[in-house]
């Protein structure tokens, strides 16, 4: 049994299945290639659609145009070097990518970051969520032809990026987390700046709600489209807002114990019973507000103290296996880290949220119209780097 033979057979089988479908419908479907170079795919995702008129009868995403082989690359890097690599998985909320990896390494080393570092980590984590989701809220408009929201999103996301940059030095790739704490403490005046920026972001949420979410056209495009029931969502392993939009009350920030500071703030996990595109977008809007609240509260609660615990300068992580996942902007982002006691990890399985979130696409796109393909993809919200890794 050679690989190519089997692949060819499976390809022929899928073609035959298509042919059967067409015979039953007695029409000749049109295959539409959405992507890899298409404005709606945020990069290079390709979706092969078989159309009957404008109705999709079969759709299959084809990922891999941006596969960078991170799981392989981690095997030749040391633990500190991996941090800078995983930054680039979900590039819009990069700080959030570092955290679960660092937490996994800390778990294996059986150390914990000092309380001050934990709070600052949580603040930066939520800021990266705001940066990520605010762009989503703007981009949502572009997917439906409204050009203005995305510019407003770019405008207001800048406040968050400036904050992240002045604290970490990197706008998109902070690389600020270290095993055992943080690279550095916050610069003077940062907390006040953060308070003001968070207020602006709260206003931005209101603006987007007025401009986009309140718009009747937007609602008519979103409601009842692309419904994913809770059972299907769990089956496919959807996570984050996509799962909560299906009515599953599950948020890793609340539902698992991690050395982070979410439990110090007063916030709410939003769910929506509908499971449609509208629910997914609305949950994200509400979560941005919750994130702003978390940041606002945690800014008052930063304890004094060091941001780095004692760790060896050359970090050797003891042998073992650890799984840590956090509720990242896109959903559950986890790392299964296997260490053999060397400088670098032996194997890192990166469980990224978008990979699972997008795997539901063939199921959910059946029977929708071409314009809805775009809105459903937009509402599922994926980042290409997060699918392909």
């Amino acid at each position: 049994m050679t690989l190519t033979d089997r692949q060819q057979l499976s390809y022929i089988a899928s073609q035959a299945a298509d042919a059967r479908l067409n015979v039953e419908l007695e029409t000749e479907g049109m295959t539409l290639n959405i992507g890899p170079q298409h404005p709606a795919t945020h990069g290079t995702l390709r979706i092969i659609c078989r159309l009957d008129g404008e109705q999709v009868i079969w759709a299959e995403p084809s990922a891999g145009y941006m596969h960078r082989g991170y799981e392989k690359l981690t095997e030749v890097r040391t633990f500190p070097q991996v941090t800078t690599l995983v930054n680039r998985i979900d590039w819009l909320g990069s700080f959030a990518n570092e955290v679960p990896f660092i937490l996994a390494a800390e778990k294996l080393m059986e150390i914990e970051a000092p309380p001050r570092a934990q709070v600052i980590r949580t603040i930066l984590f939520e800021l990266s969520r705001i940066a990520n989701v605010s762009l989503f809220l703007g981009d949502l408009g572009v997917q439906m032809g409204a050009v203005t929201p995305v510019f407003l999103a770019f405008r207001d996301r800048e406040y968050v990026l400036n904050l992240i940059e002045s604290a970490t030095g990197g706008r998109f790739h902070p690389n600020f987390d270290r095993i055992g704490g943080l690279k550095d403490d916050l610069p003077k005046g940062w907390i006040d700046e953060a308070r003001q920026s968070v207020k602006k972001l709260m206003q931005f949420c209101d603006t987007i709600e007025d401009l986009l979410f309140g718009n009747e056209i937007f609602q008519s495009r979103m409601r009842g489209i692309g419904v994913i029931p809770a059972e299907v969502a769990k089956d496919y392993g959807l996570s984050g807002p996509n799962l909560r939009a299906s009515g599953v009350d599950w948020d890793l920030r609340r539902d698992q114990e991690l050395p982070m500071a979410w439990d110090k703030a007063d916030w709410k996990v939003w769910t929506h019973p509908d499971g449609d595109s509208w629910a997914r977008c609305w949950i994200r809007l509400q979560e941005t507000r919750e994130s702003c609240k978390i940041v606002e509260q945690l800014l008052d609660q930063i304890p004094a103290g060091p941001v780095m615990t004692k760790v060896p300068r050359i970090i050797k992580v003891p042998a073992g296996e650890a799984w840590v996942s956090t509720e990242n902007p896109l959903g559950e982002m986890g790392y299964y880290v296997v260490s053999k006691g060397d400088l670098g990890p032996f194997r890192v399985k990166i469980r990224s949220a978008s990979f699972n979130n997008i795997s539901v696409v063939p199921w959910v796109l059946k029977g929708v119209y071409v314009p809805d393909v775009i809105t459903i993809l937009a509402s599922l919200y994926f980042i290409l780097g997060d699918i392909d890794r």
Binding site: G145, A146, V147, R155, V370, P371, I374
Partner: protein, 352 residues
């Protein structure tokens, strides 16, 4: 036609008409692109827009045209090349045919059809042909979908537009565009002639329907499914490059200008100012002062820019409909509404 002090031979008159037509189409188009597409959109998005080419970026459009002219005129390998190449010209042609009947002053018009509005509605649909063949001949699935959507949409919105116009025609009692202008400026509202009688007041429903239909006819957001750059990657325009794309681009904004001209004639009183102010008599256009032929175009342009500003404002604020929602909206809402509007207008016209 304008009476000139000196005798101009026929060829000279024709040349003047051509130049005048070009100015009447291209100048508003350029103005719309700069004022609204470059500047108003940017300001609505907290940015400044083009600032480098000329003072405040005013020569940006010239730079863009230069850029497009340089680009290679490509045709896809399997395209139906002659048809493919002719399509943008058909679209632009319909714009020029439209401007022919638009009066800019009591004597400043190109031709004075008795059935001017009828003609305008008829030639306005010619652009569908261009769009449809552009979509079909591009040999591109996105273009095909865009072209078919455009055809469905433009036909669907042709009807409410015509029906909305009918109300005006009933009220003015003429299909001649100049007569419609006169009827508005000469009219009076309940005996008060100080404002004339712009039909936007009595025909407000018709005005709304007309503007919605214009929005759809121009394929502007929220009715831009045929273009839909985030779904169909500019639809029927996908394969066009260089100056053929430029022609589509000009046609889009020139048509916006011309339709706004027509809307201002039908509902805002066109080139006129209330005749009551100067004691002119609407029944005899000869009593209208000659300077109106100069002031008229300026008044028209002002009204046109206001209307285009609204069209563009909506365009920059709204997301787009889905194709089926658009058809539902046209057939189940706009057309019944415009029919009711016609009925109401006719009854009131007879009873008063």
């Amino acid at each position: 036609m304008v009476q000139f002090a000196i005798e101009i031979p026929y060829w000279g008159q024709s040349l003047l008409r051509v130049v005048g037509g070009l100015v009447a189409v291209l100048l508003p188009a350029g103005g719309i692109v700069y004022l609204f597409l470059f500047k108003m959109m940017s300001f609505m998005q907290s940015r400044l827009g083009p600032m480098e080419a000329g003072p405040y970026g005013s020569l940006q459009l010239v730079a863009e045209v230069g850029k497009w002219m340089q680009k290679e005129d490509l045709a896809p390998e399997r395209a139906d090349v002659p048809i493919y190449k002719i399509a943008p010209l058909i679209v632009l042609l319909s714009t020029f045919l439209l401007i022919v009947v638009v009066p800019f002053g009591p004597d400043a018009y190109f031709t004075d059809f008795e059935t001017g509005i009828f003609y305008a509605m008829a030639v306005g649909s010619v652009s569908v042909l261009g769009i449809l063949i552009a979509g079909w001949s591009s040999a591109n699935k996105y273009s095909l979908l865009g072209g078919l959507r455009a055809a469905g949409q433009l036909i669907a919105y042709e009807l409410p537009m015509v029906l909305a116009t009918l109300g005006v025609v009933i009220q003015a009692g003429s299909m001649n565009l100049n007569q419609i202008v006169v009827a508005q400026n000469d009219g009076e509202i309940f005996g008060f002639g100080g404002l004339g009688n712009p039909f936007i007041i009595t025909q407000f429903v018709g005005f709304l329907i007309f503007m919605i239909a214009v929005q759809a006819e121009l394929t502007q957001v929220p009715f831009d499914m045929p273009i839909a750059e985030s779904e169909l990657v500019s639809g029927y325009m996908t394969e066009y490059s260089g100056f053929r794309f430029l022609i589509f681009f000009i046609a889009e904004f020139a048509t916006a200008g011309v339709f706004a001209f027509i809307a201002s004639i039908l509902f805002l009183g066109g080139w006129g100012i209330p005749f009551d102010w100067f004691g002119w008599d609407g029944a005899d256009l000869g009593t209208v002062d000659n300077w109106m032929n100069v002031a008229g175009p300026i008044i028209m342009a002002t009204k046109m820019f206001i209307l285009v500003a609204i069209i563009m404002w909506v365009r920059f604020s709204y997301p787009r409909f889905r194709e089926d929602q658009l058809q539902t909206f046209a057939w189940k809402f706009l057309i019944p509404l415009s029919l009711a509007n016609i009925a109401a207008t006719a009854i009131l016209k007879v009873s008063f």
